[in-house]
């Protein structure tokens, strides 16, 4: 559905996982962009209705791209740069209190 508008010549390839599935992305992309580039559009289920949601505004405003990153819930995928070895998971509903309270 999404593809890069132009290939970055020197960008490194990073390995990460989404819900346990091994994937690759480009260094310099955000988590949300890497998910979209891999064809993953449902990254969370809302706490209110449980319906699936995808990254939307990609600029930190809409909070549709929430995911669990390395065990920390409700992170905005569009504001976090992808890093080697990241463990990304679907955000199911609301973040649980205590599981990762910073």
């Amino acid at each position: 559905m999404f593809r890069p508008m132009r290939e970055r010549a020197a960008s490194a390839t990073l390995a990460f996982s989404f819900d346990g599935q091994p994937l690759t992305g480009r260094a310099g992309d955000t988590v949300a962009a890497a998910l979209l580039a891999n064809g993953i559009v449902a990254c969370r289920e809302t706490p209110v209705s449980g319906s699936p949601r995808a990254p939307y505004c990609l600029m930190g405003v809409c909070f549709e791209c929430l995911v669990v990153i390395d065990g920390v819930g409700n992170r905005q995928g569009c504001l976090v740069p992808l890093a080697e070895g990241m463990r990304i998971e679907t955000q199911h509903g609301r973040r649980q209190f205590g599981e990762d309270a910073a």
């Binding site: 706490p47 909070f63 409700n74 609301r94 973040r95 649980q96 209190f97 205590g98 309270a101």
Partner: protein, 366 residues
């Protein structure tokens, strides 16, 4: 009839008028309006209100009591559940001085004649903890009133609009009013959008009432009072009751609010005030420290010189009314069920006689 202003106050008056059989048009501004209805804290609040004017305490209490009925009406007429509940509200205090000041204030309030049947309790830390297990050690005590509640005010805003439309009210956005001219026993209302003629007009334009009221012989000297609000990510339900400064919404987000600043029409969100609000909220409920803040905003309360509502019919131009207050959510039930039918009948009820702006023109005596 024409209602000027399409916020929670205008929507409530328009719905009440339409339910009583009136043919109603709402003239509203656009998305750039200062709109308290979009930014408020959504309390249906009674405790601590009415010092200096017990009629306001009684009026607020009456609306809180009628709110269950209003929620049912809104559900039936709009299909929207506005998530109203009245579990009782707390004012948490973080020092002995603060608690003593609050207790003294309540005593003065309740020493006023006619303030009977208003229940409240003063709680120490242990009793507050028993009722609200999530409080922190810094909470020295609380005031509690069973009359307080809250709603989802964005759903209220939408439900009023939807119910109005279903009742045949003509909602006209982007219709800022420039002039109201008394003409041939009625009123000619004009703006860049054109003209509308009406026999009766109700000013529900919030801060805009200050400019509009004198055009029809009314007075509404309201000024902005800035409030800033923080909302966190949605989290598991842990707080059923509203605090005056902290509440968890029906959808799980935690709102932190109730700052008050006199800064004119400035709606910029500023860190220093937000920091104090957040710090106090975390001392009240330590678990909030682990939550992400997803949004902050500010809005302008519509504040009269004494803080109480202004309800008037023009003496020089009967048929022109003004309805303005800073507690459009709390008073929504009164506005729909009591005030609007009285406006349609042509006479404001005795219960609101004290709220005439004529109170601002009594010469001060030594």
């Amino acid at each position: 009839m024409v209602v000027i202003g399409g916020g929670v106050v205008g929507g409530a008056i328009a719905l009440g008028l339409a339910r009583s059989g009136a043919s109603v048009a709402i003239l509203d501004e656009g998305d750039d309006a200062f709109r308290a209805s979009r930014g408020n804290f959504a309390l249906v609040w009674v405790q601590s209100k009415g010092f200096g004017m017990p009629e306001y305490a009684i009026w607020s209490r009456r609306s809180a009591d009628d709110w269950n009925g209003l929620a049912g009406i809104l559900k039936a007429e709009s299909g929207i559940d506005v998530a109203h509940s009245q579990p009782g509200g707390f004012m948490l205090c973080l020092s002995d001085d603060e608690l003593q000041t609050r207790v003294d204030g309540m005593r003065r309030l309740h020493n006023q004649e006619t303030m009977t049947n208003f229940t409240y309790e003063v709680l120490d830390h242990a009793e507050t903890k028993r009722r609200l297990p999530a409080i922190g050690k810094d909470v020295v005590g609380a005031l509690y009133s069973p009359h307080d509640g809250h709603v989802n005010s964005l759903k209220l805003f939408r439900a009023l609009r939807e119910a109005c439309v279903r009742r045949g009210v003509a909602y006209r956005p982007n219709s800022a009013v420039e002039t109201i001219e008394p003409r041939e026993g009625g009123f000619s209302i004009r703006g860049a959008w054109g003209e509308i003629r009406t026999g009766r007009v109700v000013l529900c334009a919030g801060l805009g009432n200050a400019r509009l009221a004198p055009m029809v012989g009314l007075d509404a000297p309201v000024k902005p009072s800035k409030g800033q609000v923080i909302v966190t990510e949605k989290t598991e339900p842990f707080l059923h009751n509203p605090m005056v400064t902290v509440r968890q919404t029906d959808e799980g987000g935690v709102m932190i609010g109730d700052s008050q600043e006199d800064r004119g029409f400035d709606t910029i969100v500023r860190q220093p005030i937000l920091s104090v609000m957040a710090e106090r909220a975390v001392r009240m409920f330590p678990r909030l420290a682990g939550l992400n803040v997803v949004r902050t905003w500010s809005a302008l309360r519509v504040m009269s010189p004494d803080g109480f509502p202004i309800y008037d019919q023009s003496l020089s131009h009967p048929g022109a009314f003004v309805v303005t207050c800073h507690s459009g959510v709390t008073l929504a039930a009164n506005h729909v069920l009591t005030l609007a039918p009285a406006i349609l009948a042509g006479t404001l009820p005795d219960a609101v006689a004290s709220f005439s702006a004529r109170r601002f023109h009594v010469p001060a005596h030594a």
